[in-house]
Amino acid sequence: MHALRKNRPLRRVVLASATTVSAVVLLLSLKPHSSPGLALGASAQGSGGGASAPAASGGSPTPGSSAASGSSSASGGAPAAGGAAKTVTGETAQTRWGPVQVRVTVTGGRLTEVTAIQYPTENPRDQEINSYALPQLRREALAAQSARIDMVSGATYTSTGYQQSLQSALDQVHG
């Protein structure tokens, strides 16, 4: 974990409050192309804590899609409005350690639950990591979400770049 952090000296400086679990990041390196709706939870959390971003980006929610691995329940894919809870299950992502799948619940625009419903358990080391990393992941995700970012500043995006941006995710979840 520390070896990884060394590649990012800048974060040591700025992220005084963020405790990052790089192992979790690696473990849950899910597909980069997540739908904005879900990425919202993802990125917004990742923002604060760093480690948890991939959790929510757990694949596209693809409501209505026939993809075997993606499904959306509760309010059926509609943006979570008001206090309505929305639970989305990400697609299964194949990582070098095995399949990972995450389910998140957004209530009133805030991430309220993160559950890994599928994760590597092949060997004792996996289990050891999971017993530590999965609860940590959840804690990180929720803590970061509670950081409540309103806007994101970054190099000017094009209209196309916006679609992939954290700002877009924020707009979608609150819009």
């Binding site: 400086v13 923002s47 309103d150």
Partner: protein, 257 residues
């Protein structure tokens, strides 16, 4: 409490995001409609991509400044001020002809935020013009606006969170190569700026200036850029170099959430 009026609008080749808290929703939406229409007007007047825009005609010498819409002279005046303060590192000319592109977006986003803040009952406004944010007031009583600074090396991640923390107005502007490559020109050479920086974020009360200073500092490079930013009143900054070094002004910590 909770959610205000939010909107995202594609304009000026990017997307503007709005978050308005307080006020009567109908009045806020009406004001938002006006503000958005104004942004499209600004785009029509200032676009260098439209051959028939006032600024394009100005650049070709077909239209004198006096006959352009009044905003053109105003923005060119602001740009001249930015050029002076930045010791020439911000420029509103391209190949010798007027090109206020570098100031228009920040200026118009700030103007939009101020117009929305005038709506009765509004307690907080935040406008994001394609990555440059102007925040006014507060989203909720007792909670400041919180603006994440995107990590250029880790898409979707943030390197820091800036909070308005008591300031009535705060702008966060970032210049960098993460989204559109090397598009910042060195005014001295007319070529892409040779810089050791990946991104510069400037935190200041007004987005019009924060945006210009971020651009100027980026072109200037880390050492000279930081020294210059440190000399500006009410201005803090965070600079990321290509080799992963983080530099910042002494007072930035005040705003780090």
């Amino acid at each position: 409490m909770g959610e205000g009026v939010r909107h995202a609008e594609e304009v000026m080749g990017t997307v503007f995001s709005f978050d308005v808290r307080g006020g009567e929703a109908g009045a806020v939406r009406a004001a938002l409609g006006q503000v958005v229409a104004e942004l499209h007007e600004v785009d029509t007047v200032f676009s260098t991509y439209r051959a028939d825009s006032a600024v394009s005609r100005l650049a070709r010498g077909e239209l004198p400044v006096e006959r352009c819409p009044a905003e053109v002279a105003r923005v060119l005046g602001l740009a001249a001020e930015a050029e002076r303060v930045s010791e020439g590192w911000f420029s509103a000319r391209h190949r010798g002809v007027p090109d206020p592109t570098g100031i228009v977006k920040g200026w118009s986003a700030e103007r939009a935020a101020r117009r929305l803040a005038e709506v009765a009952g509004v307690r907080g406004v935040s406008v994001n013009g394609g990555g440059d944010v102007q925040s006014l007031g507060a989203p909720e009583p007792g909670r400041p606006w919180r603006v994440g600074i995107a990590d250029p090396l880790r898409p979707g991640g943030l390197i820091a969170v800036v909070s308005t923390a008591g300031a009535g107005e705060l702008a966060v502007a970032t210049s960098g190569t993460a989204e559109r490559g090397a598009h910042i020109t060195d005014p001295r050479t007319g070529r892409p700026a040779v810089t050791d920086l990946v991104a510069v974020t400037v935190v200041a009360p007004r987005l019009t200036w924060a945006d210009c200073w971020a651009t100027a500092a980026f072109a200037r490079g880390s050492r000279a850029g930081l020294g210059w930013l440190e000399s500006l009143p009410d201005t803090e900054a965070l600079l990321l170099t290509a080799d992963g070094e983080v530099l910042h002004t002494a007072g930035l910590a005040t705003y780090i959430a």
